[in-house]
């Protein structure tokens, strides 16, 4: 330990030296250093094992007075709940690529002998522009293809391969998978005769391949468009030259289209390739699945509100369409909630009342939804109840417990109702939209009316399909939403729908034997209205007159059904529930700040209104007024905004000096002002606002305009 300290000290010392003095006698010491370093770097790990505190990253709330157990609990809750969700998401993502993987594997299996065709089999995987999500896809490729077609897969990204040598080096290194410790070593020892090869010599790969033959050596270009086309052409022609010895195959991740990609390659290069293109699942459909598994899922501990999720979905559509970003935005929302809301401890399943503090109860009593609840209770005359909630912590604890339970019931309830509401595509919008609408507005009478109106107009055959689906939902639930069967809990509904189904079938059969087609009066009307408009009246009466007995029974049944749906489908919105603040998160701000940073905007604001950040009296200004107390760079920035694209430095200086100089009370000396001026200008340059102009001496070029 003592040695370490000494070493550390000398190290520190050297850091502050202006120049490094090389002392060969020091060498023993120097040689030791790596080993010591390693030791040091290990130390924190051991500490981590002893001291779990390093794991605890959440901060105590309540102005720091929250006790540690609660902090710990919140972090645990966050980690546990997110890990469950993440598992589901990963499952979906892996599943989504499966069919593509299978297609590519069978394509490779079907490749003919390469020697006979002279062409490299290549699979073009059309991924769309979401470059970030390709990592998982290619990871899966290398796992699957290794097993299924006995291949070795090397993944190349444009960043890895800036030139031909680097690309070859990586390919050879990854195939031979031999860890050479020092990167600088140009040689790779290889082959049984101990011959040495250059580390970019494919002969080395060949030598390795002869000892460990495989059916394919697959090179995957993950973001093929980002590769320089010359480099790709070079690599491809090299591969094709080796093709008679090494069975190369290629995978290209193509963001645009094979045609555009091909247009970038040399024609002779294209002729070395033959292949097929494969599509991956559309990111929008994956997003919908993730939506169900992460946001709408029945036992998701946290409900994300509609304004947040809508902005996430919108961003997904407008900007990036990258799934990893979507997933991490969700994770961030979860984290924010558990990090900043002390009341999340109540979401824990086991009641640990002993760790609760007085502050928790105070905080609950301050919740807007709780206040609203108490106020309505008083209005309703339940003074006693309201008082006990306000005074008695244990009462409040009970109430809270019920509230959380209630919220879980509500989640389940709303999902079940939504399952009915979305059956058969009666409402044409997609699930996420309906769900988010229901979260924010509840399932109100408008929605229900819209739904029942279209149910009313169903033809008997469509109605049987509809009822079948509803029953199927009741019986089987929906695993993608984590819903189990709820037929037992809703026996009435189940019985009602079953009866309606059998009656419909019976009526249909009856009508058929009589040679009629079954319809309700709602069907008839629409028909008549559509066909003849002039004879509307006559036709209408005529129509109702011809309703058969079965028809009117059927009409009755429809009426019953509509009534039943109207009775059962209503649901409150999340915000109506008491204490929803504990389990509902709907704020966009933290997410926006973190995921959509506005660096330019922030710098501009800091420069034009430094007071916002510095919060000192000297920089307080009204509007865009320039006062001498501002930091020099802020003054320069204000002047800068008024200039054209070429700035005369001398003019700038005189303008600056006019502000800070003689005429002011706290006038600066010219020398001091000049120093500050130069420093400010240097800062502007460092921030990329100006650069030396080649057009005119003594001028600088303006690089940035405000508001961009």
């Amino acid at each position: 330990m003592a040695v370490d300290e000494v070493l550390g000290d000398s190290f520190e010392e050297k850091q502050h030296q202006a120049a490094y003095v090389f002392d060969p006698l020091d060498e023993a010491d120097g040689a030791n250093r790596p080993a010591k370093r390693r030791k040091v770097s290990k130390a924190p790990n051991q500490q981590g094992a002893e001291e779990p505190d390093s794991w605890l990253t959440f901060q105590p709330l309540f102005g720091g007075s929250e006790n540690e157990q609660c902090v710990r609990l919140r972090q645990q809750l966050f980690e546990k709940s997110w890990s469950q969700i993440d598992k589901r998401i990963q499952h979906i993502l892996r599943k989504a690529n499966e069919s593509t993987l299978g297609d590519v594997a069978s394509f490779l299996q079907a490749t003919p002998d390469r020697a006979s065709t002279d062409k490299i089999p290549s699979a073009f995987i059309i991924t769309g522009p979401n470059l970030a999500s390709q990592d998982l896809l290619f990871e899966q490729f290398s796992e699957t293809l290794q097993i299924q077609v006995d291949a070795k897969v090397v993944r190349l990204r444009s960043g890895d391969a800036s030139n031909l040598k680097a690309a070859l080096k990586k390919i050879i290194h990854d195939v031979t998978a031999r860890e050479t410790d020092d990167e600088n070593d140009q040689e790779l020892a290889m082959g049984k005769d101990g011959r040495k090869y250059l580390n970019y010599d494919l002969e080395a790969l060949y030598a390795h391949f002869k000892t460990k033959p495989r059916s394919h050596i697959i090179i995957a270009f993950q973001d093929s468009e980002a590769f320089e086309s010359g480099l790709l052409s070079d690599l491809i022609s090299l591969f094709s030259s080796w093709l008679n010895r090494i069975p190369f195959a290629l995978l290209f991740g193509v963001a645009t289209s094979v045609e555009l990609f091909q247009a970038r390659l040399l024609k002779s290069t294209c002729q070395c390739l033959y292949g097929d293109q494969f599509d991956v699942e559309q990111s929008s459909s994956i997003i919908e699945k993730i939506f169900k598994a992460a946001i709408a899922f029945s036992d998701a501990p946290l409900r994300l509100g509609s304004s947040l999720v809508n902005s996430l979905l919108e961003r997904q559509r407008d900007q990036v369409s990258s799934i990893p970003v979507f997933v991490s935005s969700l994770k961030y929302a979860y984290m924010c909630h558990f990090y900043a809301n002390p009341l999340t401890v109540f979401l824990s399943d086991d009641k640990k009342d002993d760790i609760l503090q007085e502050e928790h109860f105070e905080a609950i009593r301050c919740l807007p939804s709780f206040r609203r609840y108490v106020e309505t209770a008083i209005e309703k005359g339940e003074i006693e109840q309201a008082r006990s909630l306000l005074d008695d912590n244990s009462q409040l604890r009970e109430f809270l417990h019920d509230g959380i339970e209630g919220s879980r019931r509500w989640s389940l309830d709303i999902l079940r109702k939504l399952k009915v509401l979305t059956v058969g595509g009666v409402l044409s919008t997609d699930f996420s939209e309906i769900y988010l609408d229901a979260i924010s507005r509840g399932i109100d009478t408008d929605r229900i009316a819209e739904f029942t109106d279209s149910v009313k107009r169903l033809q008997p055959t469509d109605l049987t399909v509809f009822l079948n689906q509803v029953l199927d939902n009741l019986d089987n639930g929906d695993p993608s939403l984590g819903l189990d069967s709820w037929a037992n809990e809703n026996k009435d509904s189940h019985a009602f729908f079953t009866k309606a189904l059998s009656t419909t079938k019976a009526l249909q059969a009856d009508a058929e034997t009589k040679g009629n087609s079954l319809r309700s009066k709602y069907n008839g009307q629409t028909k008549v209205l559509r066909t003849t408009v002039i004879a509307q009246k006559v036709q209408l009466s005529h129509d109702t007159a011809t309703l058969t007995r079965e028809d009117s029974l059927y009409t009755e049944l429809i009426d019953d059904l509509v009534r039943h749906l109207k009775e059962t489908l209503h649901c409150d919105s999340a915000k109506d529930l008491c204490m929803n603040e504990i389990w509902l998160f709907d704020s966009k701000a933290p997410y926006k700040d973190v995921f959509i940073p506005r660096p330019r905007g922030v710098v501009e604001r800091a420069l034009s209104r430094p007071h916002d950040y510095l919060n000192c009296s000297c920089c307080e200004t009204k509007g865009d007024q320039i006062v001498p107390g501002l930091p020099p760079v802020a003054i320069l920035y204000q002047l800068y905004l008024e200039t054209g694209s070429l700035i005369n430095v001398a003019d700038l200086w005189s303008a600056y000096y006019a502000i800070v100089g003689e005429e002011n009370e706290e006038a600066l000396e010219e020398q001091a002002a000049l120093v500050l001026f130069y420093r400010g200008l240097a800062e502007m340059r460092a921030m990329g606002f100006v650069k030396q102009s080649r057009k005119k001496a003594d001028h600088v070029a303006k690089l940035a305009w405000k508001g961009l």
Binding site: K119, D193, E203, R264, Y274, V320, K691
Partner: protein, 509 residues
């Protein structure tokens, strides 16, 4: 065995098979054999040159192999071929040369074979090995070593002294013949006339047909047809394909054989179906006329299975490639093709922000900066004046230009570079105008945030936006960098229309 009498003892029986498998090259084969065969007139250096795919590599390799395995009393020569195409650097070439000489000689002292970084080291190494080799077998003085540098004119990172230095090897090392295979001999090489040169001229039409009529290229007999009829049909067909290939550049042997193979199944489909006879060449030709005019068929790029348009007629197939292409499932292939059409235009592929940025980049590349003020500023009129409608002034300018102009439309010219900040400014200006759902809130909210930066880097990584000059690390945060749009007018028009914008109106010529 009376050839033995002649001064040049050429192994004629060997040559005969080679000449047969490479028609139209008998002169070259004989000459090459004479210049290489130890008992003929071996030379020190030899340059073989000729355009692509004229058989240089194939014939040299074939001949050397034949000669090596020729005589019973031990091979009269040994050889090594070094392909420059497989060598990434000059050093790589040197080490490969040493390596292949070691292999050819079955040299034992491999342990000593290590680095070979320079030409000098190569010379030393080769001298050591080859001299020793000669000494070992002194009794057989006629023994030679042939070192072939294939495609040496295309060697990457070659030092300027490479060729002269390699040419000196044979002066230092006895019994060594160095062969250089070049595609385009440099004028300086031609000036040194002491080195014998062997020219492989490009094939003529009759040559092509003669070559194509032989086994690796000729098809198996068609159904309902005698072999002789098939051969006759193929010959006439090959001639027709040769004439159909528009660009003489693609009239190389591989290009021609590829086109012939690609078209043959379709061309002969009527024969297989029994509607025409194999002898009715002109009728078949008329039936297949459309294909003969289709470049996509004659000169396919990357062969996509989905693109063999009527894969079902691929039934009678002889080319391995097309068989397997057809067989790996029609259904996915078909689906793939439909999808291609959809994904072909970027408009559907890119998210809205990226599309706006791409159009902004196009405008920045094709409008002169001095017009920006007129186009995008709302300062004076409150309403933007665009090139097309609205603004009378610019409209007039354009019209007058129209009448007298013989200039090339700006959009047909290459894109010019712009400063990134300018593109972002155009983006901000146009976004307010174009973003239909942005509304009033959009006017305030048009900010250039992280997402815009991300969209720019997506475009850059797809090379739709290209950084010019400077270093390779095109950092999109550096707004002072110079960029250029990477797509053409057609694409941009489509992208613009997908947002309801006629980009033409925003271009000032």
């Amino acid at each position: 065995m009376n050839e033995m009498d002649s001064i040049f003892e050429l192994p004629d029986d060997l040559l005969a098979t080679l000449i047969e498998s490479f028609p139209c090259r008998d002169a070259q084969i004989r000459a090459l054999a004479t210049l290489l065969y130890p008992r003929a007139a071996p030379c020190r250096n030899l340059i073989i040159h000729g355009t692509e795919a004229t058989g240089k590599t194939a014939i040299t390799t074939g001949l050397l192999e034949a000669l090596q395995s020729a005589t019973d009393d031990g091979p009269p020569l040994k050889y090594a071929i070094v392909k420059s195409a497989e060598c990434v650097t000059a050093r790589h070439l040197f080490e490969r040369t040493v390596g292949s000489v070691v292999d050819a000689l079955e040299w034992e002292g491999t342990a000593s074979v290590g680095r070979c970084e320079t030409l000098a080291a190569l010379t030393v190494e080769l001298t050591r090995m080859l001299k020793e080799n000669v000494e070992q077998e002194q009794e057989n003085n006629s023994r030679r070593f042939v070192l072939v540098f294939d495609g040496i004119d295309r060697q990457r990172e070659a030092p300027p002294t490479l060729l002269p230095a390699l040419a000196r090897l044979s002066e230092i090392i006895p019994n060594l013949t160095t062969v250089f295979i070049l595609t385009t001999p440099t004028p300086s090489l031609l000036r040194v006339s002491s080195t014998p040169q062997l020219y492989f001229p490009p094939y003529t039409k009759t040559d092509f047909i003669a070559i194509l009529s032989r086994p690796p290229y000729a098809p198996p007999p068609l159904p309902n047809t005698t072999p002789q009829e098939t051969v006759d049909l193929w010959t006439r067909y090959a001639a027709a394909v040769h004439d159909a290939l528009a660009k003489p550049a693609s009239r190389s042997l591989p290009g021609l054989s590829r086109a012939c193979a690609a078209l043959w199944p379709r061309f002969t489909a009527p024969v297989a179906a029994g509607t025409h006879r194999a002898r009715e060449f002109s009728k078949l030709l008329v039936a297949a006329r459309a294909y003969f005019q289709d470049e996509g068929v004659l000169e396919p790029g990357i062969v996509l299975s989905g693109h063999s348009r009527d894969a079902n007629t691929n039934g009678s197939v002889f080319a391995a490639a097309s068989t397997t292409n057809g067989s790996n499932g029609h259904a996915p292939a078909k689906k793939g093709r439909e999808e291609t059409k959809a994904t072909k235009d970027l408009a559907t592929l890119l998210p809205p922000t990226a599309r706006l940025l791409l159009v902004a980049a196009y405008l920045a590349s094709h409008n002169a900066p001095r017009h920006d003020q007129t186009l995008f500023s709302t300062w004076h009129t409150g309403r933007r004046r665009r090139g097309g409608g609205g603004g009378g002034a610019t409209g007039a300018i354009r019209a007058s230009k129209r009448t007298k102009h013989r200039k090339i439309a700006r959009k047909l010219l290459g894109p010019s570079a712009f400063v990134l900040e300018r593109m972002v400014a155009i983006y901000a200006a146009t976004r307010r105008e174009w973003d239909s759902d942005g509304g009033e809130e959009g006017v305030v909210g048009v900010g250039v945030d992280g997402d815009v930066g991300m969209a720019i880097s997506t475009l850059a990584s797809l090379r739709l936006l290209v950084r010019v000059g400077g270093t390779g690390g095109g950092d999109t945060m550096d707004r002072g960098g110079k960029w250029r749009v990477g797509v053409g007018w057609e694409v941009i028009r489509g992208v613009g229309r997908s947002m309801g914008v006629e980009v033409e109106e925003w271009l000032i010529e």
